[in-house]
């Protein structure tokens, strides 16, 4: 039953990613050129509503639909890993025009070269796991 819910959420999210054009390489390029409000509108309204929802949940601490308390563990404090990792991610995001969510949506949409991006992103994740201890965090 829960698996069906997870699958349903994914299908819904995949449809939104494609239909909003957030999965389009062109929209990402246009965003980094500051030539359209579209992507900023999507991210801004998602985060705007997201802040309200997250704060309400934290304040009133409701239990999840399954009865367990909702705990939101904050990310560890730090600077280097977030800025350096962020920059590397941003370089890749602009080049491939896709972040991890859209990679999967584009795979379903039939843009097969995205498989190259997916496999190399898995390899990138793997390499991070290998060299992790040598990097500033």
């Amino acid at each position: 039953m829960r698996s069906i819910i997870y699958l349903g959420i994914g299908v819904f999210f995949g449809i939104i990613l494609f239909k909003s054009e957030a999965a389009s390489w062109f929209r990402i390029y246009e965003m980094f050129q500051f030539k359209s409000f579209h992507m900023y509108g999507i991210i801004g309204s998602t985060v705007g509503i997201g802040i309200i929802v997250t704060q309400l949940i934290k304040k009133y601490a409701p239990k999840s639909f399954y009865g367990a308390p909702i705990t939101i563990t904050p990310k560890e404090k730090g600077f280097s890993r977030y800025i350096l990792g962020g920059i590397l991610f941003g370089l890749g995001w602009a080049l491939a025009g896709a972040c991890p969510g859209p990679i999967f949506a584009l795979l379903g949409a039939g843009y097969f070269p995205i498989i190259i991006v997916l496999i190399s992103s898995i390899l990138g994740t793997f390499l991070y796991g290998i060299v992790k201890n040598k990097l500033p965090h």
């Binding site: 939104i16 390029y29 309204s45 962020g86 991610f89 602009a94 969510g101 898995i122 994740t125």
Partner: protein, 185 residues
């Protein structure tokens, strides 16, 4: 109901994405796509070479199911919910991209230059996709999250680390588009 077949405006898409975030929070989960890449490494046996990958991947099975759904969602949206996949970007951007060799800018969903099936036989474009994907995977794990985990989930939780990561995303993205693109395209 014709609006469904048109591109969805930001003021519909944004709130719907916030709804996805809300549902995930309400079922006790965190929104984050890139951690699936780590889970895939673990399933493939990466735990043998790094303790980073040693965790019970079954605890992340739910997220793999979400991502399977995203693939199906992309298929449904592209094949059954769209009559015309053209992305109408700013004409100035179309002009700029065409001068860089992206001849299908303003006519398609994805640029032919990087995402047509001919790419599999074009070493330069193939290499660019490999580098792009590699940086996405490496950077997301180094930063501890991607657009969904940091920009959406993290900023919604008013986390400073996520704000730093998002600033990094933009430094990287702007560098790529404004400094590196003129060198490679």
């Amino acid at each position: 109901m014709n609006w469904i077949y048109n591109p969805w405006p930001w003021y519909l898409s944004g709130p719907l994405m916030a709804l996805v975030l809300t549902i995930l929070l309400m079922i006790g989960k965190r929104f984050g796509m890139s951690s699936n890449l780590k889970t895939i490494c673990t399933i493939c046996g990466a735990g043998k070479v790094s303790s980073f990958f040693r965790f019970d991947w079954k605890s992340q099975q739910w997220n793999l199911i979400v991502v399977l759904g995203v693939v199906i969602g992309g298929f449904i949206a592209a094949n059954f919910l769209s009559t015309d996949n053209t992305v109408h970007i700013n004409p100035e951007v179309i002009y700029d991209l065409q001068s860089k060799g992206f001849t299908t800018a303003g006519e398609m969903y994805m640029p032919d230059l990087l995402f047509s099936n001919e790419v599999f036989t074009q070493p330069k474009e193939l290499l660019l996709l490999i580098i792009g994907g590699f940086l996405v995977g490496f950077g997301a794990r180094y930063a501890g999250g991607c657009t969904s985990g940091h920009a959406i989930s993290g900023l919604s939780n008013l986390q400073i680390p996520s704000l730093i990561a998002v600033i990094g995303f933009f430094i990287g993205g702007l560098t790529m588009v404004h400094i590196i693109f003129p060198l490679i395209f």
